[in-house]
């Protein structure tokens, strides 16, 4: 930890509340996880311990307390497989095959995937299953990819559509922006996203932004106009009031959804064009980063505690800002006023134009996020679990790498696009979706790795939380495209 940071506890203003007590207790525990005295050794990512943890879960199985995740089996699989990918570890062919067979047992006969065999189809496990297949599957017989019933999945998606542009997460279930994010990722990866599917969805997403700048889980679609509760429900005009508070997970899902919907927004600046407040969103995102006494981890709501999982939901959201036009690097150098004198250990300051504190986030994950017995966690003294293991690793990845929508890469993709026989408007949209999704590229020379090269993890795709290689593999297959090779400085796929 650089000695320049002040570890002042969060001020209480002599007005203690349950919130301030929990905050103080958390800060006390977090500070105990910093090296003491003259020990300024860089923190180490305990890759081997985390790998052993993941292997234990996948081979021996998850302990009984994971019964609460019985309806999230695809998530357990995705969290585990993607954590391997971030750690630069590939699965052997035998386990890949076993993974594919397990995942395919979750496909619902009427389309989509359920949380386990014989469970109802649901948008959240559908994302997790398809992304797990992007990692473990392949084309052809038994490879999983060609056994996804995309026609029925599309029908399932359409059957969940609501008049306000949102989607239920499952039949008779709630509307939740996480479900919409999952639907859009799946539809984008599998080449089943259409204007029909996403009509009105951008307006719904815009409705979720609260006065704080972040996004909530849903908005209020209807009201009952008569004073008796039995009156008919009428669709409210847009923008509709949000239901719930700005929240890290929902904000990531809303922002990523918004970015995936950009090809479908009308280009005119008409009054009916849905809009989001980009400045208040940026302000909210940066405000979620904890102060030095919280080791720079992220929280998910104002006045809540830092939690390792927001390393990805909030930390990972920063990589999407350039896609909505927030780009500090675009400002002419020298136009800004440099502030503090350069401090020791801040030698990457020049190349780092990220709006979050990348170094502090890495320190939170490395010092506080790692469980000594392997796996990663919310915060000490909590146990590790599958969800926090991936969220922390993916957050670490987003703090190490700068992945951005590269105009050069976009041009390569556009140039190599193979149009279908009859070029329709929808085909133009397909091309835009494909190039928008796959132009994300790691910027050379912008890695900032606390603890140096041994702590390096793979870059992840900021929209999907898959490696760029896995994203390209799956999308090239479903869009029937040949993706031009990338020139990498380093290999991205290591071997165990």
């Amino acid at each position: 930890m650089s000695s320049s940071t002040t570890m002042r506890p969060s001020p209480i203003d002599s007005f203690p509340t349950p919130t301030s007590s929990a905050q103080a207790e958390t800060e006390k525990i977090l500070l105990e996880h910093l090296p003491v005295g003259d020990n300024t050794a860089a923190p180490t990512l305990q890759k081997n311990a985390h790998m052993q943890y993941l292997i234990r879960n996948i081979v021996q199985g998850f302990p009984a307390r994971y019964t609460s995740q019985d309806a999230s089996q695809p998530w357990l699989m995705f969290w585990t497989l993607q954590a391997f990918s971030v750690l630069q570890v590939g699965l052997d062919p035998g386990n890949k095959q076993k993974a594919v067979e397990t995942i395919m047992a979750w496909q619902h006969p009427e389309g989509g995937f359920g949380g386990g065999p014989h469970q109802a189809a649901h948008l959240l496990p559908t994302y997790a299953a398809v992304c797990a297949l992007a990692i473990a599957g392949k084309p052809g017989e038994g490879g999983g990819w060609d056994q996804i019933d995309r026609k029925k999945m599309y029908k399932f998606f359409m059957s969940l559509k609501q008049p306000d542009g949102s989607f239920l997460v499952a039949h008779h279930s709630e509307v939740d922006v996480r479900g919409i994010y999952c639907l859009l990722v799946t539809a984008t990866l599998l080449d089943i996203i259409t204007s029909e599917l996403v009509e009105g969805t951008a307006s719904f997403i815009a409705s979720l932004q609260t006065y704080e700048g972040g996004f909530s889980s849903a908005s209020q679609p209807y009201y009952t106009p008569s004073s008796s509760a039995g009156g008919p429900s009428i669709l409210l005009e847009t923008p509709r009031p949000p239901l719930g508070e700005a929240h890290g997970g929902y904000t990531f899902c809303a922002l990523a959804s918004w970015v995936m919907l950009l090809p479908f927004l009308p280009s005119s600046s008409s009054a009916s064009q849905p809009k989001i407040n980009k400045n208040s969103l940026l302000r909210w995102l940066v405000q979620m980063q904890g102060v030095p006494a919280e080791l720079g981890g992220f929280k998910g709501r104002t006045n809540k505690l830092v939690d390792g999982c927001y390393s990805w939901w909030v930390g990972g959201a920063f990589a999407l800002l350039e896609s909505i036009g927030i780009n500090p690097a675009a400002v002419v150098p020298g136009a800004g006023a440099p502030t503090a004198e350069k401090q020791d250990g801040d030698d990457w300051d020049d190349i780092d134009d990220s709006l979050m504190n990348r170094k502090a986030l890495q320190e939170y994950i490395l010092f506080a996020g790692q469980h000594p017995a392997g796996g990663l966690r919310d915060k000490p003294p909590k146990h590790a679990d599958a969800y926090h293991t991936l969220s922390c690793l993916a957050g670490l990845s987003s703090a190490q790498h700068k992945v951005f929508p590269s105009p050069a890469r976009r041009k390569e993709l556009l140039d190599s696009w193979q149009a279908t026989a009859n070029s329709t408007n929808e085909d133009g949209l397909r091309k835009r979706v494909f190039t928008d999704a796959l132009c994300y590229t790691e910027e050379e020379g912008t890695e900032t790795i606390v603890g140096g090269a041994p702590n390096r993890v793979n870059a992840t795709h900021p929209l999907f939380n898959l490696t760029i290689t896995h994203t390209e593999g799956m999308m090239a297959h479903f869009y029937k495209q040949t993706v031009p090779p990338r020139v990498f400085k380093r290999a991205t796929a290591g071997k165990p």
């Binding site: 940071t5 002040t6 209480i12 002599s14 007005f15 509340t17 349950p18 301030s20 996948i58 199985g61 998850f62 009984a64 019964t67 609460s68 995740q69 019985d70 309806a71 999230s72 089996q73 699989m77 386990n95 067979e101 397990t102 047992a105 949380g115 065999p117 014989h118 109802a120 039949h171 008779h172 279930s173 006065y211 704080e212 889980s217 849903a218 209020q220 209807y222 009952t224 004073s227 509760a229 429900s233 239901l243 719930g244 508070e245 940066v286 030095p292 720079g296 500090p328 400002v331 136009a335 800004g336 006023a337 502030t339 503090a340 780092d352 134009d353 990220s354 709006l355 504190n357 502090a360």
Partner: protein, 312 residues
């Protein structure tokens, strides 16, 4: 507390003898399995069987309740339970009574709240709903679902006003609705309420966000509250003034000042003016945040400086 005795497995109950349980995986060897308890395995094997047979009955309600108590996030059990409630015209009051208990027990589960909504829409009875919410909030005053539910209820189930039942909240994110009439009075009241709360604990970020929210929603400039904000951007004076100004409550005795939220607010006021001199003042405030008062966000404050200078 005495633990409940283990329930009799469905496989040994005569009243379930007509049902053939369905194991989860036909192929024995899934990757990354969950090591379930025997009770859970037994109950879900029978749940799969009734779903496959399409049975809707009172015993299905008992079975789904059992599965839900073992795993309240089992959305398929909730979904099937709802269909069964509708199909057999199960008394909705008893379903709500069960939901009162389950919401209390599994507060953080999405399905607990959604099922409740489905039943409320069917029963159209929401009279006691706000009282129930107030009670549940006392257990966990930051529960996301409870607040979202509270925002949903008045619009859908009853028109007009929701008063009273306010709960003390450290994240003061839920304004009380009073309809469209008398907006100015409501705005003034909300501003005074928020300022008073800021004066109690100036470093409470929620209150500052709400202050911004009230102004923005009503299209009022940030400068509306400049007089109030300024004392919070400087160290606390040794001798507090003994002035009572309801519109501009001063920082309390224990305030730790200056606070970053106030400095940021004042910088935004200056940026709003968009004049050379005011931008200079804003830049100086952002610099003080980057270098001293809020160093973790140094990059952001530098970005704000860059953006503001582009305005000129």
């Amino acid at each position: 507390m005495i633990p409940d005795p283990p329930p009799v497995p469905y496989s040994t109950r005569s009243e379930w003898a007509d049902v053939v349980p369905i194991p989860q995986y036909e192929k024995a060897n899934p990757l990354a399995p969950i090591l379930y308890s025997e009770e859970y395995k037994d109950a879900t094997d029978y749940f799969r069987a009734v779903v496959k047979a399409g049975e809707k009955s009172e015993r299905v309600l008992q079975l789904t309740e059992h599965v839900i108590r073992l795993n309240p996030a089992h959305y398929s059990a909730w979904q099937y339970r709802y269909e069964t409630v509708v199909d057999i015209q199960w008394p909705l009051e008893s379903e709500i009574a069960l939901m009162d208990e389950l919401a209390d027990r599994y507060l953080k589960t999405y399905q607990v709240w959604h099922h409740r909504r489905l039943i409320l829409v069917l029963s159209k009875k929401a009279k006691e709903e706000l009282a129930f919410i107030a009670k549940i909030l006392q257990k966990d005053e930051k529960n996301y679902h409870t607040w979202a539910h509270r925002q949903w209820v008045p619009r859908v189930l009853q028109r007009g006003r929701v008063r009273g039942t306010t709960v003390s909240l450290s994240s003061s994110n839920q304004g009380v609705r009073e309809g469209e009439e008398d907006r100015q009075r409501v705005v003034r009241r909300e501003l005074i309420y928020t300022k008073q709360n800021i004066s109690l604990a100036p470093n409470n970020a929620s209150a500052w966000n709400y202050l911004r929210g009230v102004l923005d929603f009503n299209k009022l400039p940030l400068s509306t509250v400049t007089t109030f904000v300024k004392p919070y951007t400087v160290p606390l004076p040794e001798h507090l003034m003994d002035l009572v100004d309801v519109e501009n409550p001063p920082p309390g005795k224990g305030a730790e000042l200056p606070c970053a939220a106030a400095i940021e607010f004042l910088a935004d006021v200056y940026e709003e003016e968009a004049q050379k001199e005011s931008i200079d003042k804003a830049v100086a405030l952002w610099k003080s945040l980057a270098e001293e008062h809020d160093t973790i966000r140094k990059k952001y404050w530098e970005y704000r400086i860059q953006q503001a200078l582009l305005l000129l």
